[in-house]
């Protein structure tokens, strides 16, 4: 690995047109774990807000840009995640929290209508798709299923595996909330239950699957739809190059890496081209400051401020 001598301390030099690109952003997606909060469980549950994150989200929202928080965890329903985030100080409504279940609910309703879907997952996924009107298939009649949806399911049994396999052998496509290999927790790495089930089921059925959560194009589309803007006008901030940054880049949006999570600082030579962040920040307050600066610069391009007014940066 070689790094150029003029690199930023994060091994990344922002492009000269970054202020223009930040100014053009019309909506923002924040990852939750490692970006907004550090916690012990997926979805920020029981965690603590990262320093400056609450104020940074508020400051960005105050610019008029809608915001959502998007976690790949499917073990909790969005309303519970939103409640937890509000306890930590974030001003986020229930429908401003997205999970793969939200994506699945929209996708399943659009693609399959009234046809039954076999859901191999826990309440965080089942309840959300059922509430959205998706018809759940009878596990005793798996060949009726138009599709199989796989998520985080700690109540795995051989019968569930067999039913899902029979549906897929019968031609039902396989959709997966998230196939992450593992998750960080405060104490130790945790095996990704959803990824475990997805790969095992994919193997026994000899069938490829489609991921609905980050970093899929479908996830980006649903997030942009929730924000009411086009995917190319969205900024995605997160701690995972493969999830948030690559999703933003592929849609033509702005990808921001925060070094408060799984990656920390990454030498630029180790980053794949399609995961190269537009911006690396050590805290979300740096992102909000740069966005405010970009906005301010546009309104007075000749006398661009060299520092932000203190009252707009947040605590």
């Amino acid at each position: 690995m070689t790094t150029a001598p003029d690199q930023h301390r994060n091994g990344h030099v922002p492009a000269p047109d970054l202020p223009d690109r930040l100014r053009a952003v019309r909506g923002v997606v924040f990852d939750i774990d490692g970006c907004l909060v550090l916690g012990d469980k997926p979805g920020g549950h029981g965690g603590r807000a990262l320093p400056g994150a609450v104020d940074a989200v508020a400051a960005i929202r105050a610019t008029g840009r809608p915001v959502v928080a998007f976690t790949n965890g499917s073990s909790q329903v969005p309303a519970d995640i939103a409640a937890g985030l509000r306890l930590q100080g974030f001003d986020l409504a229930d429908d401003e929290v997205l999970t793969p279940a939200v994506v699945a609910a929209e996708v399943l309703a659009e693609r399959y209508g009234d046809q039954p879907v076999l859901v191999f997952a826990g309440p965080g996924l089942v309840d959300v798709v059922a509430a959205a009107g998706v018809v759940l298939a009878d596990p005793d009649r798996p060949t009726d299923a138009a599709a199989v949806l796989v998520g985080w399911d700690v109540g795995f049994t051989r019968d569930r595996l067999q039913a899902a396999a029979e549906a897929i052998w019968n031609g039902a496509p396989m959709l997966v909330a998230s196939d992450a290999r593992r998750f960080a927790s405060a104490s130790k790495p945790m095996a990704g239950v959803g990824g475990f089930i997805a790969q095992g089921l994919s193997y026994v059925t000899d069938t490829e699957y489609e991921v609905l959560g980050k970093p899929s194009d479908t996830a980006m589309l649903v997030a942009a739809r929730r924000l009411g803007v086009a995917p190319a006008d969205v900024l995605v901030a997160g701690d995972d190059l493969r999830l948030e940054v690559s999703m933003a880049r592929r849609a033509g949006g702005v990808g921001v890496l925060v070094t408060t999570g799984v990656h920390g600082r990454v030498p630029v030579g180790e980053i794949a081209a399609d995961q190269m962040p537009d911006l690396v920040v050590d805290a979300l307050s740096e992102l909000s400051a740069r966005m405010l600066l970009a906005d301010a610069t546009a309104s007075d391009p000749v006398n661009a401020p060299t520092a932000l007014p203190a009252d707009r940066v947040g605590a």
Copy 2:
């Protein structure tokens, strides 16, 4: 797919030196399901002997060649499988039945001695390796484990997955009884639980695994050891080109496909070179007849019989 006009009805013409090769065989491995018996569950449990199979095994044993039966199922202990086969008429002792658990017991004892091994499997595997003296690791202390052994486990829980993942992340190699995708049953295809767990765990740990059951070289070595002969002197008969035939071929032994199981007849053009059988038979009685003929031919090469004496073929 093209097939040559001079092909046998099975799409396979035995090589001219086949009698010499059969005569040189010093021990025989029979697959169980689809070769000796047809049943509803792995290991021939509750099944029925295939026509002529009991007499064919007896006839081959009567030539002085030791025989074993080898199933890739690890849900039953060998003694139970042997008892079931004896009920169906096969004269097989408990130690003439092999499973991946038998291979695992030998391999684990040789490689790890007194070091603990974490076993992620049901009684068919756990009991056999424990009885052979392998030390079982405490699931609450997974990082003590020198290796992880995965098999058919319908009592899967998230805790077991997490413990196995922690052992593997800690450097323990991953060994797998069988990673079959699915099994035939009398009513329908059944998802391979061992393959499901193996692939899921391999994915979450980002680790390759070693298969101990058929068609591994280790399985062939343990089978040959049980027969008391060299692997190159072993004939393996079974209904699966990928399992029995390829295992025999790689060891330089004789691979025989019986068309009573999963494959039925296979056009030769569809068979990979390393899975090409030395002989295709529609029943094991044809194999025993050919072996007896080969033996007889050697003792009287000039006046080779054109048909077998009826009293040596079996019923």
